[in-house]
Amino acid sequence: MLYYLLRRAVFIPVVLLALTLMIFSLQMTLSPVQRLAAYAPGPEFLKGGNDQIAALIEKYGLDEPFLVQYSDWLGNVLTGNLGWSETARAPVADALIDLFPATAELVFFAFIPSLIGAIWLGTKAGVYLNKGIDHAIRIFTILGWSFPVFVFGLMMLMIFYGTLNWFPPGRLSQWAEVVVAGEAFTRYTGVNTLDALLNGNLAVFFDALRHLIAPVVTLTYVNLASMTRVMRTSMLETLRQDYIRTARAKGLPERVVQNKHGRSNAMLPVVTIAGMELAYMMGGVVITETIFDYHGIGRFAADAASNLDFPGVLGFALYFALVLVVINLVVDLLYPLLDPRVKLR
């Protein structure tokens, strides 16, 4: 166990180094003028013509050799300076810290129901293989991941906001924004629902919740669909194992067999997939965030990527790698708890 953790710890910096080198070398395939775009996002910034462009390239050191630029960047990162993101118009670290609570809040509310739902639906489908229930669940899940997310998102928005006016986009209503920005309200975490509870302001809490529902439902459905699939397959495999037959043969009630022996064993692969899903959600749900006007890390990363804002992209990559490491660690640690046969080496 200790060995396992140590080994993990050794490799993290290696992976991070390789990752940033890779992204950095991508950046270096661009000409200095192209890289300048991060600092001059539109034509109006280059009205000064060639002289101005040369000056800007010099200013940002864009024509320095690869290793010089990389080691400069790395040196800064090691001192805790991730650089300046022109997309966020803030230091990269500040931008990430600023946006993290929003993404975390959204993911928290969407992940738990999709995990529980997936396990439940997957079990049902596995048990009633090729029966009506199974077909219904399969179609439900295939629907969930054969339409682009934005189609669901826009439909949710149309029905629940456009027609019913229940769940508006954004994170808070205008009045609640004013309350939250006010002096009487302390922003402990940046997570609106939590902050509202800590401040004892139920009105803001419910307002934040109201804004969360539509993006959460959209995300839940999409994730639920892909995890249900895995659960169903895994359930099918498990139910054919010998010990299930043995359990049945012993005359245990079917319910116990399915839930205790079947489901708990079938959950292993789901845990792995769920870990990946969670990581990718934390990496930002670009499209959902765009549609529901929910400013989180995904939107930031996408803007940085399309503006070729490399400090932003690099910072985001570091953040995401970190999330991945933590989640993988948790998954690995969970494994032996769920399945006594697995030992960490």
């Binding site: 991508l26 054969s146 934005f150």
Partner: protein
């Protein structure tokens, strides 16, 4: 024979098979089903029926209507079938090739090689597909080829992992030990004995992924880094519907055709690959065999 019997017993799988064959037919006969206009530079550039900014409903001349900017939906969908196969098969074949190569080398040689290659996998895993693809397409420019490159660059890792773990499992099986005892060479051992045994899990995975690549492409189109404007690509056509999904005024279905037809095409494509994938798994996977 088993396949046929399975298909007959599982109407859903049969349906998937039929739909998939249908798509192949459409792709093959695209030049007959939707004839390109003489002035088109490439048959994949969807012709425009005028230049009105608003979509137009289905009519005699445009059986499925037109998108914003008057791209003919019928034409786009027919030629888009070819694009869908190109994206799906292109990305999956490249990814499978790279993944199998790396996964089998890692598993077979083990030790340091394994460690290094698996860390490479980790590096690639540590970039979310969409963001990575956005950076790459921003670098390479828009278009089908950059999109395929971007999607496969960050899409091979799963195959590598699956192949690696399958090989590790197979390696311990008796017949491999036996072959090795007879002095079979490394390459021969990998190609003749180990890979065939890991083939099925990869095949199943690949079949399922083929459909969803079209979906990833549509997400790229939504984010503005997909194919070129007007290129016959389902993803792009469904992205064209984004502003029209809510309809017009009190009629939410005023522009239903902008979403419905491209949406159905993608849905059926993904569905058919999935059903075929499920069927393959049920038939081929020895662990589930009945």
């Amino acid at each position: 024979m088993t396949v046929l019997r399975y298909l007959l017993r599982n109407p859903l799988s049969l349906f998937g098979m039929v739909v998939l064959i249908g798509f192949v037919v459409v792709a093959l006969f695209a030049p007959l089903l939707a004839v390109p206009e003489p002035y088109q530079i490439s048959p994949y550039d969807t012709p425009r029926a005028g230049f009105w900014a608003q979509p137009q409903p289905p009519s005699g001349e445009h059986p499925l209507g037109t998108t914003q900017g008057q791209f003919d939906i019928y034409y786009g969908l027919v030629w888009g079938t070819r694009t869908a196969f190109k994206i799906g098969l292109g990305v999956v074949l490249i990814s499978v090739f790279v993944g199998v190569l790396i996964g089998s080398i890692a598993a077979f040689y083990g030790g340091l090689v394994d460690e290094v290659l698996m860390r490479v996998v980790d590096v690639f895993m540590a970039v979310p597909l969409l963001i990575a693809a956005m950076v790459l397409t921003a670098l390479l420019g828009k278009g089908l080829v950059p999109m395929i490159i971007a999607l496969s660059t960050f899409g091979w890792m799963n195959y590598a992992r699956v192949v690696r773990s399958e090989i590790l499992r197979v390696k311990e099986l008796d017949f491999v030990h036996a072959a090795r005892a007879y002095g079979t060479g490394d390459l021969r051992l990998i190609l003749r004995h180990i890979l065939p045994n890991t083939f099925f899990p990869v095949l199943v995975l690949a079949t399922m992924a083929t459909g969803s690549m079209v979906l990833a492409a549509s997400a790229l189109s939504f984010l503005g880094v997909g194919t070129e404007e007007g290129y016959a690509d389902w993803g792009q056509f469904i992205a064209y519907s984004r502003n029209w999904i809510v309809g017009q005024g009190d009629d939410p279905f005023a522009y239903w055709y902008t979403l419905f037809f491209p949406g159905m095409a993608i849905f059926l494509f993904v569905l058919s690959w999935n059903l075929v994938g499920d069927a393959l798994r049920d038939i081929l996977d020895p662990r589930i065999a009945k």
